[in-house]
Amino acid sequence: MIKDILSSKTKIIGFLLACLILGALPPFYSSYWVTLITQMLIYAIAAMSLDVLLGYTGLTSFGHAGFFGCGAYVVAVLVTRYKIGFLTCFLSGVGLATAIGAIFGLLVAHASGVGFLMITLALGMCLWGLAFRWVNMTGGDNGISGIVRPDLGLPISLKDPIAYYYFVFVFFVIAVILLSIFVRSPFGHSLKGIRESESRMKVLGYHTWLHKYLSYVVASAFAGVAGILWAYFDGFVSPYNMDLTASIEIILMVILGGPGTLIGPALGSCIIVFLKNFISAYTQRWLLIVGTIYILTILYAPQGLMNLLREWIRGSEKKAEPVTKSV
């Protein structure tokens, strides 16, 4: 009990410290670094949303970038064609991602393990195919460019990298808080139960289908939020934002950072975005390096970097939990 309070206190302190750093430092960085950190935060939201599925519920989705894309395309279409303001775009983007999540959820929620993986892969490909082929709406392969950032009536324009950074930062903090509440709720705990053993949860009388369904929908909605922020950030959306490689990249962030820790995937996102932009300036063997990092992570830190870090901070006071046993 005491330990619990202690650890949650540490967590909150850590979170506040991180916020402080993220909040106070960017003005001292060059604009390029500010945009990189903005990217990290946006992908962190996407990675955390996938963590709800992958880390907490134990379901590996190979089509998560599809929802990211939904949010992004809604913004792209509404802003470039109809000049619609931020609030409407945001609500429609989240709405569409949630709605598609709710429909796909009906198909995927009865599956688990490899079935889940394959179905989400196929559905993700369908979304990609739609973005690619529905040219009148999405611009097809050429994508949609020229998405201008919203005017919120603030004294500073969001065109300024720092201003937009803080804008994203607010969403990031809200996402962290909301998702933390979600996974710590009794509902979140039963998701973990499903991860460990779905059949046991069923026997205990839990409606596992509904749990999986809802966690899928929640994950979709937050991925949509990330997509919305991305569209405004990059000013450009194309099917590449939602292809299989994009989905794999998000999975990578979660696994590297530590599935089932929420903050871990955010960390994973920072590392991947950083490496991708930093390493690639020196070598073209970027994929090989990522693959190797990946393999080493699974072998030596199967719980991800966050858990390694956590153990290190606490000293070896507590051993890591056993490795998750589900897909």
């Binding site: 392969d141 690639s280 000293g315």
Partner: protein
């Protein structure tokens, strides 16, 4: 105890993150020495080899001039966009905001080109697209700060459509193409000139870009046509050509294609199936001019392969930039003047032949009708006909041309 230790370690961690990030941030002071060219090309991913060709072309030119222009050193900063416009955007921001380049060059995918436009306009960085060919980049969505030294997808096919009707005497053709903008624009251009003369495209088949097996489509091609025109590039071009022969079509119906399908970078991977394919492009390594012969010879010597149109595009594009910088006396910082010079530049001794830019920033250049032949055991694109000074608007008036919508999937000259 535990709390203290935890706090100490946590703080230590936070502090080190702070310092590392601050160190990275501080490390990038910019000095005003060399002229910097930010070069963005796909060096990994599906188009890695094309990207490498581009890089080689640029390097080849810069080596020839010793990386010097108007008394200043030239620094080429190459960034890999993984053939993904999103990555491309990140790299573009990097070269502009972190490296402080004077000119942006390269750019492979059409989507990357479109993605770059607003940013380049906002930052007012002179840019030179050397490869991507999407029509609207220099038509309905042209950008002030972007000049293109490559081509538009329909630029060569307008010319080829006329050649097919007038010289080859075809009247009825079938078209197959990759189901995206490049295919639509290329086939749309061909269809327009071909049908305006009186020919007829009787069948159009669009195949997904990731098609590996063309057999369902090949078996559906009408056998009563005079010729088949296809738009496949890279790997799909390779497998399509081979499957076209295997299904016995090569013997029956002549095959014509978009220029890059038989590009020099892919010809070594092709065999007899490529023989006799006729297509059109603004360059061929087999072009028989003294300048091109010299270019091909030195390029081969340096890189052990024939220059592809990607390599020539990068070579000539980089020359374009360097000549423009020379024209403003090395004042690459004076962006307005540099852009003006880039738009006005005329190059008469490019490997592809002479060319200049139209008011929209796209080359007016020769289009070569080429035929794949085997010479000394090696496949090459023999030039069989030259159509000089072809504009992206063909023989139409630019403003009237631009009133038409962009060539789309369902384009037909009959209906608007």
């Amino acid at each position: 105890m535990v709390v203290k230790k935890t706090m100490a370690r946590g703080l230590g961690l936070v502090a080190s993150v702070f310092f590392v990030m601050a160190a990275f941030s501080a490390g990038w002071a910019q000095d005003k020495g060399p002229v910097k060219i930010g070069y963005i090309a796909p060096l990994t991913g599906a188009f890695a080899e094309n990207g490498k060709d581009m890089q080689n072309g640029a390097i080849h030119y810069l080596e020839e001039i010793g990386y010097q222009v108007a008394g200043r050193k030239i620094e080429l900063i190459v960034e890999d966009d993984e053939a993904n416009p999103t990555t491309g955007m990140t790299k573009l921001r990097k070269v502009v905001e972190k490296d402080g380049v004077h000119v942006v060059a390269g750019v492979f995918l059409a989507s990357t080109g479109y993605a770059f436009h607003p940013y380049i306009e906002e930052k007012k960085i002179p840019a030179n697209y050397q490869i991507c060919s999407a029509d609207d980049l220099t038509q309905r969505k042209s950008a002030k700060w972007v000049v293109r030294t490559s081509w538009t997808s329909s630029q060569t096919t307008h010319a080829l459509g006329e050649y097919m009707y007038n010289t080859l005497g075809y009247r009825k053709i079938a078209c197959l193409g990759m189901d995206y903008a490049f295919g639509w624009e290329a086939i749309g251009g061909l269809q327009r000139t071909f049908e305006e003369l009186g020919g007829k495209v009787v069948q159009k088949i669009w195949t997904p870009i990731n098609t590996v097996d063309f057999s369902p489509y090949l078996s559906n091609i009408r056998t009563d046509v005079d010729a088949v025109y296809v738009v496949y590039v890279g790997r799909p071009g390779l497998t399509f050509t081979k499957q076209y022969m295997e299904f016995g079509l090569k013997k029956k119906i002549p095959l014509l294609s978009i220029g890059p399908m038989t590009d020099e970078n892919i010809l070594p991977s092709m065999g007899d199936e490529a023989l006799g394919i006729v297509n059109a492009l603004h360059y061929s390594a087999a072009l028989d001019t003294p300048i091109n012969r010299k270019f091909v010879a030195t390029f081969r010597q340096r890189f052990k392969r024939a220059p592809s149109y990607f390599a020539e595009g990068a070579y000539t594009g980089t020359k374009w930039i360097v000549e423009s910088i020379k024209a403003v006396g090395g004042a690459a910082e004076d962006r307005d003047r540099l852009l003006g010079a880039m738009r006005k530049m005329v190059i008469s001794d490019a490997p592809r032949g002479p060319f200049r830019l139209d008011d929209y920033g796209n080359p007016i250049q020769n289009v070569y009708v080429r035929k794949v032949e085997r010479v000394k055991g090696e496949l090459q694109n023999t030039v069989i006909h030259t159509i000089p000074n072809v504009s992206q608007f063909w023989k139409y008036k630019p403003d009237e041309y631009l009133k038409q919508p962009l060539y789309s999937r369902d384009y037909s000259p009959g209906k608007p």
